[in-house]
Structure formats: C-alpha cells, structure tokens
C-alpha cells in the first residue's frame, strides 16, 4: 500500500511542473509509482487530493517551526530567531520558486474554495500563536522590550513572510531580502540590548 507521503510528493512535483490551472490527476499519477486509479481510490478526486495536500504542507511547515523552536532551548531571543529562520528558509531550495508559485496559486483559490481557505487560516492561526507565545514569554522574562505587543509582532512577521512568498514568485526576489528587514525590525523593536540578535 502506498504511503500518503508518496502521493503528496507526486502532487508537489506535478504542481511545480504543470501549475494549478492545468493540473490533472493523470499528471499527479505520472509523478508517482502508482496508477491514476490508485490515486482516485485514495482521494476521490483532485479537490480531495489538494485539500489533503494543503494539510500535508501545513503539517510540514508547522513541524519545521516547532522543531526549530524546541531545538532553540528556553531563551526567547533564541526561540524567536530560530522560528523566523525556519519560516524564511523552506527546505526545498533547489526549486523554491516553483514550489512557492504552487503555494501562491493554491492560496489564490481560497476566495472561492472554502475548504482551502479554512486550512490556510488554521495554519496561519497556529503560526501566529507560536509567535505570540514566544514574544509573550520574552516580555515576561525581560528579554524583550516591555511595551512590545505580542499580537502586533506576530502580525508583522506573518505579513512579511506572505510578502516574501508573493515577491519571490512575482519579481523573483530571494526571501533573504524580506528576512533581513524582519530581523532589523525585531532587533530594534522587540529585543532588548544584548539579545541574541545583538551578540
């Protein structure tokens, strides 16, 4: 029995090659070891499969952030740095523009695909919540400035990441550019002097 992961990898590849507009179940089957019939047996149709795919992408994204957070230890400076680093450095770097394009195309369907929007909103809320937790902890420990609003800091980071994603696709700009601006903002506004970013 094929693992879900195999279908998910095939979906990634097919989306990168064909784009959302022209994507067929056959394209996805062609990228896997399995038949189109097996794909339909597992997922029903393209809509079901893409919903599972969004769940899969969300899970990978959030795991990457949470793993980075856990590996950073208890210090809020280190935690925030590690999570921002993980968010702005997706692993698929050899074909990053294609994978980002596939995600932007799926996100563009959200206004008329409520199941897509729901998944994207859930991921967004979980990402924000992680950021709010870290910033709240940093304010409490005094690692961050006392007047920092955790919700606004989280909003700033999630918006900058969305901007980096769209700009990578539209103008071909590397996400490192947006990330530098985020890090400068956090250094000035959030960290107190002597935080991890200033060492």
């Amino acid at each position: 029995m094929p693992s879900d992961d195999e279908f998910m990898r095939a979906t990634w590849r097919a989306l990168c090659v064909h784009g959302y507009a022209d994507l067929t179940m056959q394209d996805i089957a062609d990228e896997s070891e399995k038949s189109k019939a097996a794909l339909h047996y597992h997922y029903g149709g393209k809509q079901d499969l893409l919903e599972s795919f969004l769940d899969h992408v969300a899970e990978r994204f959030l795991s990457r952030l949470r793993d980075a957070d856990a590996a950073a230890g208890p210090n809020p400076d280190e935690r925030l740095g590690a999570v921002v680093d993980a968010a702005f450095s997706p692993p698929e770097s050899d074909e990053l523009e294609s994978t980002q394009r596939a995600l932007v195309e799926l996100k563009a369907q959200a206004p008329h695909q409520p199941p897509f929007r729901e998944r994207i909103q859930e991921t967004d809320a979980a990402f924000r919540e992680l950021l709010v937790d870290i910033v709240t902890a940093g304010v409490e420990t005094g690692d961050f400035q006392s007047d920092v609003d955790p919700g606004e800091t989280a909003q700033f980071v999630v918006n900058a990441l969305a901007g980096a994603q769209l700009r990578q696709v539209s103008v071909g700009e590397e996400p490192t550019t947006a990330r530098r601006v985020v890090e400068q903002h956090l250094e000035r506004h959030v960290h107190t002097d002597g935080g991890a970013s200033g060492e």
Copy 2:
C-alpha cells in the same frame, strides 16, 4: 472605435468572475459591448491582452501613487503618508478580494511568463523609486531620522504591501491590518517626533 479602457474594464470583470485559469477571450468579450472578433483584432490573443492589462493596471497604480504624492505638497511626512495611504487603499473596494485574487493569479504566472514578470518588475521598481525619493528628501530636510536607509524603508513598504495582497486573498484579512503595522514602523523608525504621523 472602442477605447482600450473598455477592453481593460471587461478584462478586470472577466478575471474577477472566472479567474485566470478558466479565462477565455469569449468571457472577456461577454463583459464588453464588443465582439470576440473585435477583441482579437485589437489584441491578437489572450497573452497580448493580458500583457496590455498588466500595463494598464501598473499605470493606474503608479498614477494613483503619484497623484497622491503631488497632492500632499512638499512635506516629506505628508508625502510618505499619502503614498502609503494610496498604496494600501485600492479604489475597487466593493469587490476588492476578487480584484486582488486576479492580480495574485497573474503574479503567480510570472515564473514562466517573462513578459508578465518584466512588467511586474518595472512597476515594482517605479514604486520603490518613488518611496526612495521621498525618504531621501525627508532625511535631507530632517523630517526623517538621520540614520534611515531609504532603500530599506522602501523594501519594507513594498514587501508589506505584497503581504497584505496575498493575505487578503488567502485568509480574507483586510489590508488595513498590514497598513497599521507599516504606519507604526514608519512612525517609530522613520519619522522624527512631531512628524505628520504624530500630530
């Protein structure tokens, strides 16, 4: 003879209704007073028409920003506020989510549509240049903080606007949220005390 503007309005409406993936020349003709033959006569095909459409959107966007800048007078605080206001407040507010979705879909084609990317890059460069001009002027007059880097400030604003556009489409967030974060950043980092934003 139909004005180009009539075709451009029809393209907007057709993109909002059908999305990029399913858009046909017939859909666009159906939204105008003219025939599909007239549309082909003017534009050759969908590709040509969408390139003209991107030029049209860019021209409107940049005109809106330059008009706002000119109307603000010579004070850099007022100029920056007016341009940010214009950038974050597109006029098509009754169906803003659909129009933003159409633009995000076109931007998502940029990696494999060099004529699209070229146009988007030109518009981006012109938007940045306007911001750099204003911030440079403000640093010279002392209205802005002396250590402000105009290029980085411009980068911050263009990235935040891209983030707001993608987030409006993907999670349904109003651009006012991103705009508030931008204004706070500019108030703290760019304006000196007593600037327009603090009055």
